[in-house]
Symmetry: C2
Subunit: 313 residues, 2 copies
């Protein structure tokens, strides 16, 4: 029996700092409905989708607290959950999480067609710095506002209505780290789901990377890691100009050969849809990337025994 | 002081089973001289460059033995070593190695400008199978003819005349395995050097991958792994039709952003040259891929604790 999942990437244009939660949520519901009209079964929103990308500012107090969700769902986002359940479609969404114990994470969840939360992930590869750079107008302070994800890379099996795919979640910078993909690859991932907010220039010093190069990097990482783990991948941007700070677009849906099957054309709200034949993962998993036959972990010890680079003398 | 290395990829067209060692060596020397005329300091030849890709056949006895080198160099290949030393340029070359103890490896060495051997590598990721597939005209029997490489991924520092780059070697299928690149990345690699023989269709079953797709895979793996480890990379093919079995071309030189700076146009003998500014690696190594700042090995345990994929129930 064919295992075809109709997947949507719901790229979002910018969320300005002054935008209300209600206005942002209304845009997300419109994207959800647009995807549903095209028959999508799972809709992938970006990282930190409900707010602006607040780690670009040095913040404290009430404004900072207001960017975090103390529960998921909660009354402010409930209409998205309700509409998705009514439409019978699931979604991935990234958000800033504050736990009852006061921990803070850059997190994402996936809901199923019945509205239940199927899986949760907390971003492991936090970019940026703890301390702001005095010379820069825009910061990248994820290491200040979030703790490192403590859930590892927990694959799970999606619902039978989607073909029971083995699913994995990553967030933004994680997609550039092959260790993260391989941790899911070793759980047989068939569909990797990711959202991102990536600055159009490097916010931590230097202006040597422009939006074109950074979009190329984003796409290249999705394509190659999908290929090397024989998995479908969807990578969804929040894009465009947020209060004068540019974010790349370039949302993509990639097949297990690393080929792009759908790609965003804009820096705004935009829905991409593709039919993902999950059994296309089989050739890679059974042959070129048959890990049991070909991996040699006895030579991979450095990957866990060492954190930073140690060049020869 | 700028650290610019002029690098050449010496793509080779096919070596037929009936071709003499002398004829093949003469072509290699012509490629070396062509690279030297363009000022190259290091020339990268393919995997198993001195012979046809013999693992496509089920062989034994004298013919099989004849494909292996009992020493490197040896009288049959000495003219290449002599010519390179006279020109003051180094080279990477892949060959089938038979040790004095009778072990067999798919190996590569790099020589320096003075002709001395700077480094040696034995292929870790052997593709293919031990037993031939009765239904197939062409085989992929690397697991039959070679032992798994036992040297790990040994980076070394190249000579001062080249800018003292941290160098790493891979062979063919290794380039698709991010663990191999990361093992070198964790040694600060600045120049990854690789040769390959990749069938234009999948020799271990199925004809679903054509030469275009397999060339795309080869290029994608070089680009993304160079980017994710902030290193230059050169990947050189033996290409074209060897006794009716096609090999892809697509030799490339890739910069630390994953951008292609030179790419083969043919399936024959062809020299690509590029000036590699080794300090282009610094931005990636100090920021996006500052491993000490951003890697989280506590979440990478599966990569060494597990060989094959273990999907959730």
């Amino acid at each position: 029996m064919p295992r075809i999942l109709r997947l949507a990437a719901a790229q979002m244009g910018p969320n300005q700092r002054a935008d209300s939660r209600e206005a942002i949520l209304a845009r997300m519901i419109a994207l959800l409905e647009g995807a549903a009209q095209q028959g999508a079964q799972l809709v992938v929103f970006p990282e930190l989708a409900f707010t602006t990308f607040f780690p670009r500012w040095l913040l404290e107090g009430a404004e900072l607290d207001g960017y975090f969700e103390a529960a998921m769902p909660n009354p402010a986002v409930q209409p998205l959950f309700d509409r998705a359940r009514a439409l019978g479609i699931g979604f991935y969404v990234g958000y800033a999480e504050r736990t009852p114990e006061g921990q803070h994470f850059n997190s994402a969840i996936i809901t199923g067609p019945d509205g239940a939360i199927l899986g949760k992930y907390r971003k492991v590869h936090l970019p940026g710095s703890v301390e702001p750079r005095a010379s820069d107008r825009f910061q990248q302070l994820e290491k200040r506002y979030f703790e490192y994800g403590d859930l590892g890379f927990p694959a799970f099996r999606g619902p039978a209505a989607w073909g029971s795919p083995v699913m994995g979640m990553l967030i933004c910078n994680d997609r550039r780290w092959p260790e993260a993909w391989r941790a899911y690859g070793l759980q047989g991932v068939e569909l990797m789901v990711m959202g991102y907010n990536s600055a159009a220039y490097d916010p931590n010093g230097g202006r040597t990377e422009d939006a074109g190069l950074r979009t190329f990097h984003s796409t290249l990482a999705a394509q190659a890691n999908a290929y090397m783990n024989a998995t479908w991948a969807v990578s969804t941007a929040k894009a465009g100009d947020e209060d004068g700070s540019g974010l790349i677009g370039g949302s993509v849906i990639v097949d297990p050969n690393g080929l792009i099957v759908a790609q965003a054309k804009s820096l705004g709200d935009e829905v991409l849809v593709a039919d993902c034949d999950l059994d296309l993962c089989r050739q890679g998993k059974e042959k070129m990337f048959n890990f049991a036959a070909h991996r040699r972990p006895e030579h991979y010890r450095r990957l866990v025994d060492q954190v930073g680079a140690e060049p020869p003398a």
